[in-house]
Symmetry: C7
Subunit: 90 residues, 7 copies
């Protein structure tokens, strides 16, 4: 089963649960995460021609962006590429 | 009897009730479904020239998109094509 | 007496009361009708050059669209053509 | 004394009080009139070049359109021409 | 001391207190004036090239338009020219 | 220390406290000042090419415009030039 | 680890805690800072071609702008460049 985003949307897997335990990395405490930014991984690009992100990129988006879906145990978001705030490199 | 969508709208049959029982597939639990994304099947395209979806496509849309109608026992939505988030392939 | 819609508006006669009794047709139960879609018949086109509907067409519009007037015992709506969701064929 | 509307506005005299007594005509009962549509007569056009209405036309506008003024005993509205819903012919 | 409006704004002196006593003229009773239209006199034009009003014109504007200032005992409004509804001629 | 506004913004020093005591000038009483217009002096222009005001100009802006900062004992506002209502000349 | 802003966004490190102790500088008291303007330092530019700020610039932004993230002990903001009000030079 596969979800193919349309237009300028990307499919993003939510990462914050794993990342919170990463030492020395970005820490997104509960209070901020609920209101502000969350981390995810791009898993599929939409049908538009140009994207500033590629599959596998770790990204930051506002917690208010996108529409949530769930596949198996994982949470995913369908997000417009213009709502992606930044790429995180490690 | 037939419903022909106008402009860039598509007619979508709601699928989430059947799909919820599909093993290994997308699971949309009550809490998410009420707030976020729902699954449907495109059953008719509007009168615009270009659509990224075709009849028979399984799609995801925001639960806040579209206008609901009922034909017989089934629920349908008239949705603008730009509000379709993704195509689901199985 | 005659009502001539202006611009891209159409005059629509509300049909849901009759239609609700039609067997095998679109059923719009109270709860949905109050919030979502209503059925009507186009009785006059506005002064714009191009319409996707014609007089006599049965259509669906959102219950939130248009401005209501009453002529005799009938209820009518003045609705922008872009707010017509679909044509219903029987 | 004379009121000259500017731009695409027209000056409209409110008619619903007289009209309500017209037999066989459009009846706008209290509940509808307060929320939906009101009838008026165009008494002056603004300074724009093109209007779909002319002085003397009986028209329908949404009860939420325009800005009210009073001259003598009469109530008038200054309304944008794009807010005129229809012309009423008798 | 002089107030020079910028852009498409005009400086308007509020007139309704004097005007209310004018016999046979526009009467703007308290209830309407507070919600709907007020009368003023254009006392200065802004820096844009084209205005449909000139200094000395008596005008009608919505009571919700503009920003109020006070010079001496008089109340003035800085109003965008597009918010002027009509010119009043006597 | 120096604040350089960006784009079409200007830095404005609030003047209303001094001005309120100026005889024969614009008086902005508490009730109006809190809701409507305030007086200021332009102290720096932004990086855009064209401004209708220059440093030293006394101006009027809506009390709802701009973002406040404080330097030493003085209050300043960073305001978009399109939100400046008028220049005051004495 | 590195955060690369996308589009016309910049990454800004919040500075107000240090700055509040700087003698003779901009003082942003609690009440203003919560509602109005905050100071920060640009630490990374986005992927757009043109920015009016560069890395290292001290800037002022509205307290309502941007999305907050936290790296280690520091708070950062991802802010659209058009929301930067001014550069602060010392």
């Amino acid at each position: 089963m596969k979800v193919k985003p349309l237009g300028n949307r990307v499919l993003v897997k939510k990462l914050e649960e794993e990342e919170r335990r990463t030492p020395g990395g970005i820490v997104l405490p509960e209070s901020v995460k609920d209101e502000k930014a969350i981390k995810g991984e791009v898993v599929a690009l939409g049908t538009s021609e140009k994207f500033e992100v590629k599959e596998g990129d770790k990204i930051l988006i506002s917690a208010y962006s996108g529409t949530e879906i769930r596949m198996g145990e994982e949470k995913y978001l369908l997000v417009k590429t213009t709502d992606i705030l930044a790429i995180v490199e490690e």
